[in-house]
Symmetry: C2
Subunit: 213 residues, 2 copies
Amino acid sequence: MEKFPITDKTKITRLPKRGVYDKETIYSILDEALFCTLAYVHEGNPFQIPTGFVRIENKIYIHGSVGSFYMRELRDKKLPVSISVTFLDGLVLARSAFHHSVNYRSVVVFSEPQLVTEEHELYKALELFTEKVCPGRWAEIRKPTANEWKETMVLSFDITEASGKVRTGPPKDDEEDYSMNVWAGVQPLKTIRTTPIPDPQLKEGVELPGYLK
Amino acid sequence: MEKFPITDKTKITRLPKRGVYDKETIYSILDEALFCTLAYVHEGNPFQIPTGFVRIENKIYIHGSVGSFYMRELRDKKLPVSISVTFLDGLVLARSAFHHSVNYRSVVVFSEPQLVTEEHELYKALELFTEKVCPGRWAEIRKPTANEWKETMVLSFDITEASGKVRTGPPKDDEEDYSMNVWAGVQPLKTIRTTPIPDPQLKEGVELPGYLK
């Protein structure tokens, strides 16, 4: 199993048994996430931007307007960033307040931005942004024009330092609390896609595509 | 309508029409969120911690172990932080790749940590951590012992600088694309709670409480 190296930045010091460094698990958490939170430092303060992303091989790609302040800052100053994704999978309901917890999967990546300029890489990233959230859609939509390309900036981040943290399973209570008459267990949480809402301006006769049913 | 002041840090420069500063909206986004992402700077690098939280009046509270490295760092150095929450409410499927977007609600707060030492405030924060995620639960669980209190650190953050950003509604396409034979609209996303899973060690005869049904 291939692993990311444990570094000063990615070492899990709190509850280290929950730490994961294998690429397969980290990639699977990243690939399931529809957005990440990107943090960077500006004048000594930590800023955060929630943004869509896609992972291709060992890189994370984000995109934005060439007019976006933070995209330009990242590009021009090659600011160090952290990128995180978090899934809250369940509420862990213990018998004692103290042992209440949550089941989760999270990943934090440390990296630096690189401007993507190579046409093939740009196009592939843009296509996968769409295909990731809605497989099947890229084939039928209008592709970017030359001007739209000029308005779009794509940055990539090598996944060189990364760690995950995962909790699963039932609550762990103190031995003497197991006899309490209190229900204990996990309340699972799940993100679902509900019925698609057509654009009020949808052209008459256009049906919902199979990939959205 | 009471608003947070717009500061250098909270000014929305990209798509400013999506910016929100009114307290009611910002509080409602914070209150719906089951976790936040807290970012701070350590040796020039941006770190992120996903963590549970609760808002009481104009403060955000987080808690953790007194042994936690980042909790101690925050407490001892009073590091400036940003705290973000994000809801992805829907995929906005336009006719062109370029106008694909997402409906979302996000908030970013800038603040500094304060150690909570006053017993009444501590107890209230801990109670609301549980009640926020599972209303009705606090009354029946075992409350913290004196030793458990000693192992728990609670930090508060005044919400002095905060901004929200919200997108709702259908896609906005280029005029000439509305005649395309492509389905357009919104694919809503929603987080749901599924059937509770009892602890394998649940005491016989203990039934699922009404607040979890």
